[in-house]
């Protein structure tokens, strides 16, 4: 009935081609089994069942037949990401995981280990205005220094982390600082409490670790205070934007009417950027300056001259763009892998149902044979689906680094803008000085025309000279700050 030339398949491959594949021996066995099975069908024996080993391994294990190196992957499969934290030097078996470059940095860090654990709910002492508020979560932070080896344990809440981040940003202007974990206000309401706390715990741990391996910040007092000071966090807290703006609005009229100290920038203020502060007038002035820089005819006396810096800045922007692209594509890739795993699983399921059906309804032996084949395929497909899922878990873990770097790029941008705003402050103050000198000259010229001098004008001149003195100081501070930032940048280059 089935002569050799009438075996119709869909593009049945010639024998030679099949020999050259990895599965060649098994393949030819299968084909001969197939053709012999057809003639043997009448006898009722089922060669597929009598050849379990080569066929089942080929069908079921074909996707894993050449898995080399199971050990190094098996270790890494589902180990949580934060176990790499500080544990990298302790786990030499993780040869090929991504923390190996970080372990070099870890060796240089001041802290041997930082762990965040044991989230607990605590009650606010003061009655909160927000209904349902008043409770918050604290985390136990355990750290050990590399030097003494002494272990410190403190309890901190997320608000403390925000404070730490803000103080560091102020104190270390111009440095690339790891961005802190998001507040995630929406997610904290929407997500399951337990999941959200876990997500936050892990994020805090990663953040603290990154800070500790930073060559400058790792040694900072702020970080030390956070990790070691018992009781309340001894850092000044940040105020929110609304109250700052309110304060600024209150001061503004005084500033505009030039009354004394409220009218100019003090040296200590000059060291901080204008944006986050309460000095609205200063914000306006700096804005005016930046517009003059862009559109004005005269070049400001101090400009960004470091060509290498400018080149680097451009490179950084380019890098950020490419990172963002790569990160996006990584997300698409992860989704595609997830989809293929899912569909493979559903295919397996469909064939399992088919197998069950055929086995139940089987009248002919050929049906049973077919059902067995389908079952092999189904089993293999379901296994493959599971493997795809594991692959994806790995992929997500490793490609996540792209996302982290993207977060770091934000810090880089922050550092650049710090530098730019410091420069702007210097430029603004210099413009101020110039205009102040001009006013003095005008007043003096006008008053010299009046016989005996103009008392009110002279008084004004005195005030202006005072202002100039303070502003000169401020300008020096600002200039120093700007130079400092430039130097810290150079530190970063190596």
């Amino acid at each position: 009935m089935m002569g050799p030339e009438t075996h119709l398949g869909f593009g049945s491959p010639p024998r030679e081609k099949m020999e050259s594949l990895v599965l060649s021996d098994v393949a030819s066995d299968y084909r001969s089994a197939m053709s012999s099975s057809l003639s043997a069908v009448v006898d009722g024996c089922d060669p597929l069942l009598s050849l379990p080993s080569p066929l089942s391994t080929s069908a079921a294990a074909s996707s894993s037949s050449s898995f080399v190196d199971p050990p190094s992957y098996a270790d890494v499969v589902f180990s949580p990401l934060d176990s790499q934290n500080g544990a990298a030097p302790d786990r030499p078996s993780l040869r090929r995981d991504s923390s190996s470059p970080r372990s070099d940095r870890a060796a240089a860090s001041e802290y041997a280990k930082i762990t965040v654990s044991d989230p607990q709910k605590e009650q606010d002492a003061v009655n909160s205005l927000v209904p349902g508020g008043g409770t918050y979560v604290t985390y136990l932070i355990t750290s050990r220094t590399r030097a003494g080896g002494a272990e410190f344990r403190v309890r901190r809440r997320f608000r403390d982390v925000v404070t730490l981040a803000d103080r560091l940003a102020e104190a270390y202007r111009g440095y690339f600082i790891q961005p802190r974990p998001d507040k995630n206000v929406v997610e904290s309401q929407v997500m399951q409490k337990h999941e959200f706390v876990e997500q936050r715990r892990s994020a805090i741990e990663k953040y603290l670790w990154r800070l500790s391996v930073h060559p400058v910040i790792g040694k900072s007092e702020e970080l030390r205070a956070f990790l070691q000071a018992q009781g309340k966090l001894p850092l000044p807290t940040s105020t929110d934007v609304a109250s700052r703006m309110l304060d600024g609005a209150v001061r503004l009229p005084k500033q505009l009417f030039g009354e004394g100290p409220a009218g100019y920038v003090t040296p200590q203020d000059a060291v901080q950027p204008a944006k986050g502060g309460r000095d609205l007038l200063r914000i306006f002035k700096e804005l005016k300056q930046s517009v003059a820089n862009d559109w004005g005819v005269a070049k400001p006396p101090v400009v960004e001259e470091d060509k290498e810096f400018l080149e680097r800045k451009e490179k950084m922007q380019d890098l950020e763009q490419q990172l963002s692209m790569a990160s996006q594509q990584a997300e698409v890739l992860v989704k595609a892998q997830q989809d293929i795993g899912e569909t493979m699983g559903q295919l397996g399921l469909a064939f399992i149902k088919l197998t069950k059906f055929e086995t139940e309804e089987a009248i002919y032996n050929s049906q049973r044979v077919r059902a067995t084949d389908a079952k092999c395929l189904a089993t293999a497909a379901v296994k493959a689906s599971r493997l795809y899922r594991e692959l994806n878990a790995q992929t997500v873990k490793h490609l996540d680094t792209l996302h982290e770097y993207l977060g770091l790029m934000l810090a880089v941008q922050g550092a650049f803008s710090d530098r730019a705003s410091a420069l702007l402050t210097v430029q603004t103050l210099m413009s101020d000085l110039t205009s102040l000198h001009t006013r003095i000259d005008k007043l003096e010229a006008a008053s010299s025309k009046i016989f005996g001098g103009d008392r009110s004008r002279m008084r004004k001149v005195e005030e202006l000279k005072e202002t100039i003195r303070v502003t000169e100081d401020a300008k020096c501070c600002a200039l120093r700050e700007y130079e400092r930032i430039k130097e810290s940048y150079l530190l970063w280059l190596c």
Binding site: A326, A336, L354
Partner: protein, 405 residues
């Protein structure tokens, strides 16, 4: 009345001409070419027949045929060989845009090739005169033949619905007081009908998932390609050795993308298409079931009419009416028709049972091969992916100590 050609089952036509060489008939459908313009454009195929059978004009013959010619052949065979599962044809394409895509054309060509070869290897079908016409006549004759048959013999959707109702809604008919449709009360056949209907559902689901899997392969391939490009660009931002490694990673990614697209095509042609073919085959069986139901109904109706006529005739003969002569002739004619209808029905029943065995065995073989192709393709792909990434690891290891903080 069209009488089916019959030959003893299982015997292939022995050719007395060349007793030494076994008789063979092999057909290839190849070389699709787009002809015509605009709306009337169509694809033509080259059909090459190689044979040593005496009924054919020579050892080799090449003709040009189009899809509607295949449809003509299918319909003629379905008319003449009731009871035999006619090999299924690939579907007409519903979407205009898709009709001339390379993939669609290739899938159709493959399906047509299998179709014609199944006919050529079927013990009864291969002796069909229509097959010979199809394989040998020139294009004009073919066109004439095609335009004569304007689908009067086509299976009407109403018939398929009827058999569906037969299977599903016996109870409702009784409840509604309708006269129960005449049907067989063969429990084995009932089981078979039930099996075929459920089988179609399962197969359709499997084929759907298979098609989705093909799409997933394509999507993964595309995303790997995009990812590779992005990584290459990212590497360009970095320094020399790190940048080079990124470039390597990107290239490997793009390479794998190509392999995935190839595997997607392989999956489509060698796994999804066989499953689709299986679904079509089951639908062809359903069509035969319709034939069988019709034949049964005809047989019953004729038997009843004959019986009535017989009673009437006896009455007339008793009354010694002059109409008795006429009635007797009518009765004899009717009886012959009834016997013919019974013969036809019984032929269908017999053929069907043989065909079922054949069908099951062929499907096992076809599916076995399709599964094998699937496993092979996936294993090859997985090996290639593993090799590609593995080859990258030593380069990455070499680079990693140079990564400074």
């Amino acid at each position: 009345m069209i009488s089916p050609q019959r030959s003893p089952p299982g015997s292939s036509s022995q050719s007395p001409r060349s007793p030494s060489a076994p008789p063979f008939l092999s057909v290839t459908v190849t070389d699709p070419v787009k002809l015509g313009n605009g709306v009337q454009a169509y694809i033509s195929y080259r059909v090459i027949t190689k044979t040593n059978l005496p009924e054919y004009q020579g050892p080799e013959k090449i003709v040009i045929r189009r899809y509607s010619d295949f449809v003509w052949l299918h319909d003629r065979l379905a008319e003449k060989y009731r009871g035999i599962f006619i090999p299924p044809l690939p579907e007409k394409s519903a979407v205009e845009k898709f009709r001339f895509s390379a993939e669609f054309i290739e899938m159709r060509r493959q399906a047509l090739d299998i179709f014609i070869n199944r006919i050529a290897s079927h013990p009864q079908l291969k002796q069909s005169e229509d097959l010979r016409t199809f394989l040998q006549e020139d294009e004009e004759t073919m066109e004439r033949a095609r335009s004569q048959e304007t689908g009067i013999f086509k299976k009407k959707p109403a018939d398929l619905i009827q058999i569906f109702k037969d299977v599903q809604s016996k109870v409702s008919d009784v409840v509604l007081g309708k006269e129960k449709p005449v049907e067989e009360s063969n429990p084995e056949y009932e089981k078979l009908k039930h099996y075929i209907f459920e089988l179609e559902d399962h197969l359709a689901e499997a084929q759907r998932q298979a098609y989705r899997l093909v799409k997933r392969h394509r999507e993964l391939g595309q995303s790997l390609s995009d990812f590779g490009k992005a990584i290459k660009l990212l590497g360009a931002c970095e320094g020399d050795s790190l940048g080079k490694v990124f470039a390597d990673l990107g290239s490997k990614s793009e390479l794998l993308s190509i392999k995935l697209q190839k595997e997607a095509h392989n999956l489509l042609m060698n796994f999804e298409e066989p499953l689709k073919d299986y679904v079509r085959a089951v639908q062809s069986i359903k069509a035969t079931m319709v034939d069988r139901a019709n034949a049964f109904r005809q047989q019953c109706e004729l038997a009843e009419t004959t019986k009535l006529k017989e009673i009437n005739l006896d009455k007339l003969m008793l009354m010694r009416s002059e109409k008795a002569m006429e009635a007797e002739i009518e009765y004899k004619e009717l009886k012959a028709e009834s016997e013919e209808a019974t013969r036809r029905f019984e032929t269908i029943v017999k053929l069907m049972s043989e065909e079922m065995v054949r069908f099951q065995e062929q499907k096992t073989a076809d599916l076995g091969l399709a599964f094998h192709e699937f496993a092979k393709g996936q294993a090859k792909l997985a090996n290639e992916i593993a090799d590609a990434w593995r080859s990258l690891v030593p380069k990455l290891d070499a680079c990693s100590p140079s990564l400074c903080s």
